[in-house]
């Protein structure tokens, strides 16, 4: 049945070969990753002093877009938190402070200058410029980060890429093919290669199914055929760094499970009535 194979995996990227599922199944996971998996982002900013050249709103917006390393087990979504307060509590909010001043030389304020109340919750990178301060300018603010979902604002999306594509199927007719190499030359992704008087597929997963090789083939009808495998997909995920990619997928599956359970419960209610 369902089979998974890891094609590529590091701290931010994940590429999976998923076989034995249909399009709605894999698309549901893709969309839940984008819209439902929570992650942390700065949501509210109190500007105490800002004499920089950027307006308060622009600085607040830039702060909001900074991806923040998220601890999903230690924090609650504000709407699900037991504190029921609009302002939030220690379980659903992280406070950051920033206080920088340029004295004699202009300075750049970086995301690394944000001081978090919880050392585990910090910006993904310390080198994001927030603003540049000229001589005598000052920036002092307090920022509150919360968990949120991608459907409310893109800053709460844990990924910068969540996509799936069909697994390509390339068939070369050995009888018709005379190994002229025209298809090898035109392929923009270097999927094909010529070896021992034969054209071979060397990098199937790179194929985008553009079918340039089919058009390039001088044989009529073409000796090469590009199609896709039924019920096999390549799932590509690129995390912003807020959460590890494996965690994002497992979280997405959990959320889908919860939603389906809610659905069956509702159906049972309807049947009872």
């Amino acid at each position: 049945m369902l089979e998974l194979k890891t094609l590529e995996s590091d701290e931010t990227n994940l590429r999976l070969l998923v076989t034995g599922v249909d399009t709605p199944y894999i698309n549901a996971i893709r969309r839940i990753v984008l819209t439902e998996v929570p992650c942390m982002a700065i949501d509210e900013v109190v500007i105490i002093e800002n004499s920089s050249v950027l307006h308060d709103e622009i600085i607040a917006h830039r702060l909001g877009l900074i991806p923040i390393k998220t601890d999903l087990d230690g924090y609650n979504l504000p709407e699900e938190c037991s504190c029921r307060s609009e302002f939030g509590c220690n379980l659903c909010r992280v406070t950051f402070t920033l206080d920088r001043e340029a004295k004699d030389e202009p300075v750049t304020v970086y995301s690394g200058d944000l001081v978090s109340e919880n050392p585990n919750i910090a910006p993904v990178s310390d080198k994001i410029p927030i603003v540049k301060l000229g001589r005598g300018q000052k920036l002092k603010l307090e920022a509150y980060a919360r968990l949120g979902r991608g459907k409310n604002h893109a800053k709460w999306q844990p990924v910068s890429l969540s996509a799936h594509k069909h697994l390509p199927k390339i068939r070369i007719d050995a009888e018709k093919c005379n190994a002229c190499g025209k298809c090898v030359e035109t392929c923009p992704r270097k999927v094909l290669a010529k070896s021992k008087g034969k054209v071979e597929v060397v990098d199937l997963y790179a194929c985008t199914m553009c079918r340039d090789c089919v058009d390039a083939c001088p044989e009529e009808p073409s000796a090469i055929e590009v199609n896709w495998e039924k019920n096999a997909f390549i799932f590509i995920l690129e995390s912003t760094g807020a959460l590890p990619p494996e965690r994002i997928i497992t979280e997405a599956v959990k959320i889908l499970d919860r939603q389906l359970k809610e659905f069956t419960d509702q159906i049972a209610e309807v049947q009872k009535a």
């Binding site: 877009l65 900074i66 991806p67 995301s111 080198k127 410029p129 603003v131 300018q137 910068s160 912003t240």
Partner: protein, 79 residues
């Protein structure tokens, strides 16, 4: 003005890569190779860095001139 924090199209973090890109391209490296080594694969993220003009330094100069003028005016009225 200042480099945007994320790519407008896909949302990848790009702001932390700008300074390295600017330094290395100024040193004479090929911009395409620098973008590759920074891990910017898609053309949406590449154009963010490639087409950016950092003018915040120029804006800061105006700020300094304005401060000087304010100071001069203050001194004039004191005398």
């Amino acid at each position: 003005m200042i480099i945007p924090v994320r790519c407008f199209t896909c949302g990848k973090l790009i702001a932390d890569k700008w300074e390295e890109f600017a330094i290395r391209v100024k040193a004479g490296e090929n911009p395409a190779e620098v973008l590759d080594s920074l891990g910017l694969k898609r053309y949406c993220c590449r154009r963010m860095i490639l087409s950016h003009v950092d003018i915040i330094d120029e804006i800061l100069r105006f700020h300094e001139e304005a401060e000087k003028r304010k100071e001069a005016r203050r001194r004039y009225y004191q005398e």
